[in-house]
């Protein structure tokens, strides 16, 4: 791709960022107030944010402009076990059935729960080749930032905006400021991309990225697998930014090639030429630059009720009394009260009841491999209930093909069907009041994993280690 980039160096325009290039390629028209009408190439539809959007479309007497650019899947509310009986009645069943009806009525592809391609929207988009470099992709789901790992401009929207995409295939948007996060250094053993993103969120705060599109760059990002890049872009929204992007490279192309909806062979050369231009030009300006030395990072865990309340696992529960700003202190006190934690407690002394390995953040094959690597031949601690919920049916099948399911079940984990599950607790997988969970998901908000449930976010390795010891622990120290 290097040669191809040189061909474009004669481009007379000023240097542009990756984000601006994809944006510019999708502007239908510009308004006097600086907003643009942006064309949307791909729309993923799930059961929770779509019923009202479909209802609005029908009520207005409108039709879908391009039904073939939408793919629908029910992932949030579906059960992850006993699927033959579990979804017969109740609100979840009605919502899943509504999605199916709506997709039939409007002629958009729908992937049912028992299909081999079923899974969490943000896992199956890339699996299908629906997610491609340089596209604009939206979904009524904030973790749509995930797809930026491919050099797509992807962001979460509300249901009303979904309706706009249904009928007009465009959204009126204002261009964001640009932020570049440059990551250098090699991760130490036991440290992962999850620790990079948790440390970034802790650094900038849950509102730190508001108004910005983030590009991740640097040698550490180039060395990352596509799965790791998806984890990175996925949690960008937890720093407040709707968009996280990584410039495509050979790894991206290797992933995309051969996927069902990837460019046809006759179109591939042109697509590759186009994708080779998808990088920030030398000298492109960013409004904010952040540098992270990944080599210095320790595994991170969250202790509070926002992802920004995360610390290296070697730390102690922080003391609000040491914080001068009263608003911040009050926020910490609220978190500690909800989490049932006392300042000064070593994080590694916190005992857990449940373990959840899965979600669109860490439910891919590489994540399951890494967790399995920690637990192989060991057993879940007494009193801990642990589940693995693959991000998709394809991930599940691939994991079974290499025997990962046996490693998990031999260790005492439950091996479930794919879905969002205990990331959002909209099906039967949820914490009860006061239960504490080591989770590979992305949000530790109050009630996120069930009313009164307490979530500690961490990497798959760290969650696996917590399952074995029954407490938060440093995976680098072994799990004896």
């Amino acid at each position: 791709m290097a040669n191809l980039q040189e061909q474009h160096s004669s481009d007379p325009r000023p240097p542009r960022t990756l984000y601006d290039k994809v944006w510019d390629a999708h502007v239908v028209k510009s308004y006097a107030d600086g907003t643009d009408l942006l064309y949307i190439d791909r729309h993923l539809v799930q059961e929770v944010s779509s019923p009202q959007a479909f209802a609005g479309l029908v009520a207005a007497g409108r039709v879908m402009r391009r039904p073939e650019l939408h793919i629908a899947v029910a992932d949030h509310a579906v059960p992850t076990r006993n699927r033959h009986v579990a979804l017969r009645e109740g609100l979840a069943a009605a919502q899943v059935a509504r999605l199916h009806q709506n997709t039939r009525r409007h002629g958009i592809p729908h992937i049912p729960m028992r299909d081999r391609r079923h899974g969490i929207v943000h896992v199956i988009g890339p699996e299908l080749g629906f997610t491609l470099p340089g596209v604009t992709l939206v979904c009524g789901d904030s973790h749509t930032s995930t797809h930026g790992a491919f050099g797509a401009l992807s962001f979460g929207i509300g249901a009303s905006e979904c309706e706009c995409v249904f009928s007009a295939q465009v959204l009126r948007q204002r261009r964001q400021k640009r932020m570049r996060v440059t990551i250098t250094g090699s991760l130490q053993p036991g440290v992962t991309v999850k620790d990079i993103i948790l440390s970034l969120i802790a650094l900038v705060g849950v509102g730190g990225g508001v108004g910005h599109a983030i590009e991740y760059a640097g040698p550490t990002v180039r060395a990352m697998s596509m799965e790791a890049r998806m984890t990175l872009c996925n949690m960008t929204i937890e720093a407040g930014a709707r968009v996280g992007m990584v410039a495509p490279d050979d790894k991206t192309l290797d992933w995309v090639r051969g996927r069902p909806l990837a460019p046809l062979p006759q179109d591939e050369p042109a697509a590759l030429r186009d994708w080779a231009t998808l990088c920030s030009d030398p000298g492109a300006l960013f409004d904010r630059e952040i540098a992270i030395d990944a080599g210095a990072l320790a595994p991170h865990v969250s202790w509070g009720t926002t992802p920004e309340e995360s610390l290296p696992v070697t730390a102690r529960v922080p003391d609000p009394a040491a914080v001068a700003d009263p608003a911040r202190r009050a926020r910490m006190e609220r978190s500690l009260a909800y989490m049932g934690l006392t300042p000064g407690t070593a994080l590694t002394d916190i005992a857990i009841d449940r373990v959840f390995i899965g979600s669109c953040t860490n439910g891919r094959l590489e994540d399951l491999r890494r967790a399995a690597g920690v637990i192989r031949g060991r057993h879940v601690a007494a009193g801990v209930a642990a589940i693995v919920v693959p991000g998709s049916a394809q991930v599940r099948a691939a994991a079974e093909a290499e025997g990962l399911d046996r490693i998990f079940t031999d260790a005492g984990f439950e091996w479930r069907e794919a879905g969002c599950s205990m990331c959002v607790a909209m099906n039967d997988d949820r914490l009860t009041e006061g239960e504490r969970c080591a989770s590979t998901s992305n949000r530790n908000f109050e009630g996120r994993q069930g009313k009164g449930g307490r979530t500690h976010l961490m990497s798959p390795e760290m969650a696996a280690a917590a399952a074995l010891t029954g407490r938060l622990c440093d995976v680098r120290e072994g799990t004896a």
Partner: protein, 215 residues
């Protein structure tokens, strides 16, 4: 749910200035299974209100139409139910120092006016809210009038202001005004980037999907 335009509002403002109230706290996920917008106000801040004594359940703030929030209000999930439940409760305006971006955009879709103020101005508004003194939010003039007649200016994007004032249907406007531009864009894009246009042959990969009634 048809929503009235937003022009001027004089109402009690409820103070709820805790930092980082995410949309899971505003509208817990388990109620997302409900598919109608009407009635969602019952589950607004569900867990907080279940504890009793929540500001929106205490007079005079139970009649509040304005909510004064803390920093990073509405971060997290994109669920538009967070806004719909505020509207169903009767809130038409939220005043804070910063908001989650998707929540902020969703507000306008339901003619809810989100206002970002600098900390000092916000503190004045919060003081009136805590005292139970009504505020006036004047959108055409882009100012808040406090009980003692002090005025505080605020910013709002022109096209969003226009949409609020007229209760504009943005989708209808786009379809009416921009259909030709959209069609022209598509024709040019198809010529330049044909791989973005999925063919019937590619979409045939879904032909083997077996749909059953309970899927």
């Amino acid at each position: 749910m048809t929503i009235a335009p937003f022009v001027r509002l004089t109402a009690i403002a409820a103070p709820f200035a805790e930092a980082q109230i995410d949309t899971d706290v505003i509208f817990p996920a388990r109620f997302l299974l409900l598919m109608e917008k009407a009635g969602l106000g019952r589950h607004l801040f569900h867990e907080r209100r279940a504890r009793g004594g929540f500001v929106l359940d205490v007079p005079p703030w139970d009649k509040a139409q304005i909510l004064v929030t803390g920093p990073d209000f509405g971060t997290g999930s994109s669920r538009e139910q967070a806004v719909w439940s505020l509207v169903d409760f009767g809130i038409r305006c939220v005043i804070g120092t910063s908001f989650g971006e998707i929540f902020f955009a969703n507000c306008f879709r339901s003619c809810v006016l989100p206002i970002v103020l600098p900390a000092a101005d916000h503190a004045c508004v919060l003081a009136d809210a805590e005292a139970g003194r009504p505020l006036t939010v004047d959108l055409p003039a882009q100012r808040i009038v406090l009980a003692d007649a002090t005025t505080i200016a605020f910013d709002v994007e022109p096209h969003r202001k226009a949409a609020l004032l007229e209760g504009l249907d943005e989708i209808g406007a786009i379809l009416r005004d921009d259909a030709q531009d959209i069609a022209a864009f598509e024709a040019a894009q198809k010529a330049a980037r044909p791989w973005l246009y999925l063919t019937p042959g590619q979409l045939a990969c879904f032909d083997d999907i077996k749909e059953s009634e309970d899927d």
